[in-house]
């Protein structure tokens, strides 16, 4: 029935998991009071009248972290098959992974030195 055995459970559980918030929200829609408008629809800003919106251009300081994250996330994806098959690959695979990680550590040291990991 399925190409990958065991994954029909994943699909089924995805449907059940998705049904939980949908059912909760629909129940809320039915039983909760509604139709009231006015002040309650105002954006919260500590009791003040909101000044301007939040959809403006500003410096997102985390973008450097996001870039470094992509590098290391891809690295871990490459390392998972290596870790699973390590007992069959032996010393050579260890040295290869050592070189692979060493290159990334140099990249991390470079990013660190350049101040990409600084908040201010």
């Amino acid at each position: 029935m399925f190409l990958l055995t065991g994954y029909e459970y994943f699909l089924g559980f995805l449907l059940i998991a998705a049904a939980v918030p949908v059912l909760a929200l629909v129940t809320n829609l039915i039983v909760a009071p509604k139709g009231r408008t006015g002040e309650r629809k105002l954006t919260y800003e500590s009791g003040m009248e909101p000044i301007g919106g939040a959809w403006i251009q500003f410096n997102i300081r985390y973008y450097m972290f996001a870039l470094v994250f992509v590098i290391f996330d891809v690295e871990t994806v490459f390392l998972y098959p290596w870790a699973v098959a390590f007992n069959r690959l032996g010393l050579l695979a260890f040295i290869e992974a050592l070189i692979f990680i060493a290159i990334l550590v140099i990249a991390l040291a470079y990013a660190w030195r350049k101040g990409a990991l600084e908040w201010s």
């Binding site: 994943f10 559980f13 909760a32 919260y44 994250f69 007992n87």
Partner: protein, 372 residues
């Protein structure tokens, strides 16, 4: 070591006895463990919420909930019902679709991750081959939902909270994945069942925590950060950001965030106990108990004992960790955002990389102690 009950097989045999074909039996069986796990997760959340309120009260020399049921055990249910009948407010300036999709996108992957949580040899929904890797993949969906709800609120606090949540999640995901990698290296498998079985044998002495003490601490810190628990609850820091990305949320959508964060906490505690504390394993090896009672290892009593003690041990270990997490929340101050990022990138990342390489080296040198 293939002991434990196979419920699926006996259930299917029972249905076939009623004259149904094996395909129909399989389809009838399919949703049962899922619903059971879902109910278990929700009950776990109710217990955790009650524990949190009682322990926080004890930490601050208050009494805590006491009127709803004995010792206030029904308080979380009352809270849930209250939120269910609360009015749903979508701010006029917000993006309605993204505002609704955000909490759903946060909750669904967290529930879905319970697919791979084993409570016993055969007591899990599905032993998918990629196991723990599926959890790593699913946990990276959550920041998208947080970012989405923060942005859709069109509120300055929400936007800052959502950005913080995303930055925090991605910063701590890499040390988390690397410390899981060290376990995978020792197990030669991604399956959670194999990970627990690899830790059985000598009881408490063969648990991964002794072979991976650094990995255990790194994983626990990262798990707390991923759950946005104090000392890492910057995305919803009350004093600065009101409630972070959930500022504009009310009623059921707020409850979805709440439910998601507590399910995530219990999930993390369960995963710590599976990866490092022997999962469903009893601290004393079953062989020793069987020998002490002069029974063979496959005696019915021993089989029932291991199957029933398995669930108790898993839940006990997980709740011990939940207890520690709650105590930490009510006794530690919050870190600053630069301290948080420094801890993740400049301390935990190098440490977990070194831990991975040292584990690989030790596995080459002493294969018998590190899973062959």
């Amino acid at each position: 070591m293939e002991y434990g009950l196979d419920l699926e097989y006996s259930f299917n045999e029972f249905l076939k006895g009623l004259g149904l074909s094996s395909e129909i039996a399989h389809i009838i069986w399919l949703p049962l463990p899922m619903l059971l796990v879902l109910v278990a997760a929700v009950v776990g959340v109710l217990v955790t919420v009650w524990l949190e309120r009682k322990i926080s009260a004890a930490a601050q020399q208050r009494i805590g909930p006491e009127y709803a049921g004995a010792l206030g055990v029904l308080q979380p249910i009352a809270d849930g019902l209250k939120l269910l009948v609360k009015e749903d407010i979508i701010p006029a300036k917000a993006d309605g679709i993204l505002f609704t999709a955000g909490p759903i996108l946060v909750l669904v992957p967290v529930i879905l991750s319970w697919l791979i949580v084993p409570f016993g040899q055969n007591l899990l929904i599905s032993n998918v081959g990629i196991g723990i890797f599926l959890w790593i993949a699913l946990s990276s969906i959550q920041p998208i939902g947080l970012l989405m709800s923060g942005y859709a609120s069109n509120n300055k606090y929400s936007l800052l909270g959502g950005l913080r949540a995303a930055a925090q999640s991605i910063s701590y995901e890499i040390p988390l994945a690397l410390s899981v990698l060290a376990i995978v290296l020792m197990t030669n498998s991604l399956s959670t069942i194999d990970i627990v079985n690899q830790q059985s044998g000598a009881g408490i002495l063969s648990w991964n925590i002794w072979r991976q003490p650094v990995g255990f601490i790194v994983f626990w810190i990262c798990a707390l950060a991923e759950c946005e628990r104090l000392p890492f609850d910057l995305p919803e820091a009350e004093e600065e950001l009101v409630a972070g990305y959930q500022t504009e949320y009310a009623g059921m959508k707020f409850a979805l965030f709440y439910l998601g964060s507590y399910i995530n906490l219990i999930l993390s505690a369960l995963l710590v106990s599976i990866l490092y504390l022997g999962g469903w394993g009893f601290p004393i090896p079953v062989e020793l108990i069987a020998k002490f009672l002069n029974l063979p290892i496959n005696a019915p009593f021993i089989q029932v004992f291991t199957a029933s003690i398995g669930i108790v041990m898993t839940v006990l270990k997980a709740y011990l960790l939940v207890f520690i997490a709650i105590l930490l929340r009510w006794t530690t101050p919050r870190v600053r955002i630069d301290q948080l990022l420094d801890l993740g990138w400049k301390f935990l990342l190098p440490i977990s990389l070194a831990n991975l390489l040292i584990t690989a080296g030790l596995k080459l040198a002493f294969p018998q102690f590190f899973g062959g």
